[in-house]
């Protein structure tokens, strides 16, 4: 499912958080949303998954405005992994992942064999097969994050929204999770913190600052010393790994001389 934002503005209270954003996620691409804290990444994503309502502009899913699509219909195609997982009640991991099937099941319909297979597969993909019967409350932050991802996968979406999905994870799982998502081969819009990871996984990047898109393009084009300086207010040097050619960024502390420059 393709996503297109057309002049979206969002207010929270009386404050305008997002000022007129155009953005699109098309043709099963992985699009990253980057920007400093408070740049409006989460707010923008929340409007897409309908927790917030834009004050101006339209959000289209396959050329239909999301206001015209029933919530359940949206949930059949769009799933979300958000930053915080609130779990105060004891469900097993399998039960939580099975909740991903909610939009596909009628109210009293019993889960079919296929639903269990989908859940099994989602657990397998996220490395949680062993955790199936564990109580969700006994898991660590990172493990809960993987359960949330498994639930989002079990929703069988064609568009996935991720709000810093790898926040609580160590590097092994960060790489794993992003690889899993990348391999789903669906449209993805992900707010990420780590620019290096974004460069590795995304097909296209939007840089956000103070609620506006500062620049966008393919990673090689937009991740430059200059843009990072402008957006994050840090000096850095960008290298390329000699073997993988992937991008590495070295950040400089304030006041530290940039090697050889003086």
């Amino acid at each position: 499912m393709d996503l297109r934002l057309d002049g979206v503005e969002i207010d929270i209270g009386t404050k305008k958080i997002i000022h007129g954003i155009d953005l699109s996620v098309l043709q099963n691409s992985f699009v990253a949303l980057l920007g400093p804290n408070g740049s409006g990444k989460s707010t923008l994503l929340k409007a897409i998954y309908r927790v917030l309502r834009p004050s101006q502009g339209v959000i289209y899913l396959n050329d239909l405005s999301i206001d015209q699509i029933p919530v359940r219909k949206i949930a059949q195609n769009l799933s979300v992994v958000s930053q915080f997982q609130s779990n105060h009640f004891d469900f097993t991991v399998e039960e939580v992942v099975m909740m991903g099937r909610t939009p596909h099941l009628k109210k009293l319909e019993k889960e079919s064999k296929k639903d269990y297979e989908i859940v099994e597969d989602a657990l397998h993909k996220t490395g949680l097969s062993e955790y199936k019967n564990r109580n969700i409350l006994s898991l660590s932050g990172g493990e809960k994050q993987r359960v949330a991802l498994a639930r989002a996968i079990a929703q069988c979406p064609s568009l996935m929204i991720l709000d810093e999905p790898s926040n609580h994870l160590d590097i092994k799982y960060q790489l794993e999770i992003l690889s899993i998502i990348k391999n789903l081969n669906i449209n993805v819009l992900a707010a990420l913190h780590d620019i290096t990871l974004a460069a590795q996984f995304s097909d296209y990047i939007y840089f956000l600052k103070e609620g506006e898109v500062v620049c966008h393009g393919i990673p090689e084009k937009v991740i430059t010393k200059e843009t990072l300086k402008e957006i994050y207010e840090v000096d850095c040097e960008i290298f390329h790994d000699p073997r993988t050619k992937s991008m590495c960024i070295s950040y400089y502390r304030k006041g530290v001389m940039i090697g050889g420059a003086t």
Partner: protein, 346 residues
């Protein structure tokens, strides 16, 4: 903790319920052998003639059995409301009285007792249940309006609104009582606030029974939205649940049911808070299993506690609210201390 399988749990609870009914009908000032109790009950229910005229037949069928049934109905209803309320506000400390229903009912009952039926016009003619029910309903409407005034209802706003209305209603009732209460009216009010099943008769069973049956049938079909709600508002929305609609719908159901329960028996505390936790410790948080288990557990608990309340001191009928807390508190403490039951991860 390893959870028991669902069919086994239900079967065990059913057996326990039948045993509880037998024991609770048998105990009292007039002691009846338990076998005679079961015989009479079977005889009456299936309209058979097993033993010719048991002497206890009248006591069993006209006095004790309706009361035990009332315990089952009220216990089941309060437990059900507690489960749903905790899901609606995503808070394990919520209980059915969060919506201001208990204090609204308290205010209604106080007005009836103090001002007397005649001065309340047609309302008074309908009795204390009617005024308590209206008070409860008015409080619930006030809470819901306040919580959703000019914006979407959030769980925090709901809890705060409940606290505000509870305080206001309690204060109003206490004010009326302080101004014009007499020793006897104050004693009646106090008794009412602690709840009692002593007024249970066949006729008074009908309304709460129908309400509990209808509400539980409906809510048992709602396990998926309820489960999704426990994952938080955002997650519920992303799972395709129209959270604002469902929350309001369930709240109305809970408010009506709790209003009916409170107006029938007064304020019986603690059941709606602890039974859901006990049930979760038994079977987990999935509402598909949790609702039936809670209903049965609540029924057993309240029936048992009521028997205790009317037998512990001979010829004295104590308010049941004392015992729900007295029995419930240590039990709840035990469940909380046991590490295997984490009702909250903080």
């Amino acid at each position: 903790m390893k959870k028991m399988s669902f069919p086994i749990t239900i079967a065990c609870l059913f057996i326990l319920l039948i045993l509880t009914v037998g024991i609770c009908v048998s105990v009292g000032t007039m002691k009846i052998p338990i076998l005679e109790t079961y015989t009479v009950l079977i005889e009456k229910i299936f309209q058979l003639e097993l033993v010719a005229n048991s002497t206890a037949s009248g006591v069993i069928w006209q006095i004790r059995f309706p009361r035990v049934l009332m315990g089952i109905v009220i216990g089941a209803g309060l437990a059900l409301c507690g489960v749903v309320m905790q899901a609606i506000v995503q808070n394990p400390l919520a209980d059915p009285y969060l919506l201001g229903i208990s204090s609204g009912g308290y205010l209604g009952a106080t007005l009836f007792i103090i001002l007397g039926g005649s001065s309340l016009g047609f309302l008074g003619a309908m009795g204390i249940s009617a005024t308590a029910f209206l008070g409860a309903l008015a409080a619930a409407v006030a809470v819901l309006t306040l919580a959703s005034y000019k914006s979407n209802m959030t769980t925090t706003k709901l809890i705060l609104s409940g606290t505000i209305i509870n305080a206001a209603c309690t204060a109003a009732a206490n004010f009326v009582m302080a101004i014009s209460g007499t020793d006897s009216t104050i004693a009646r009010i106090t008794f009412w606030t602690m709840g009692s099943l002593s007024s249970a008769k066949w006729e008074s069973l009908l309304v709460p029974l129908c309400a509990v049956v209808m509400a539980s049938t409906f809510l048992m079909t709602q396990y998926r939205p309820l489960n999704a709600m426990l994952q938080g508002d955002e997650t519920a929305i992303t799972l395709g649940i129209n959270i604002h609609f469902y929350r309001r719908l369930y709240m109305v159901v809970v408010a009506l049911l709790t209003g009916i329960l409170v107006s029938t028996t007064g304020i019986i505390g603690f059941v709606g808070l602890i039974i859901p936790h006990i049930a979760r410790a038994l079977i987990g948080a999935n509402h598909r299993r949790l609702i039936p288990v809670s209903i049965l557990t609540g029924a057993i608990f309240l029936t048992g506690v009521d028997a205790l309340a009317r037998t512990i001191i001979e010829n004295v009928e104590l308010p049941i609210g004392i015992f729900t807390a007295l029995v419930g508190a240590p039990f709840f403490a035990y469940i909380m201390i046991k590490k295997s039951y984490n009702f909250s991860n903080e």
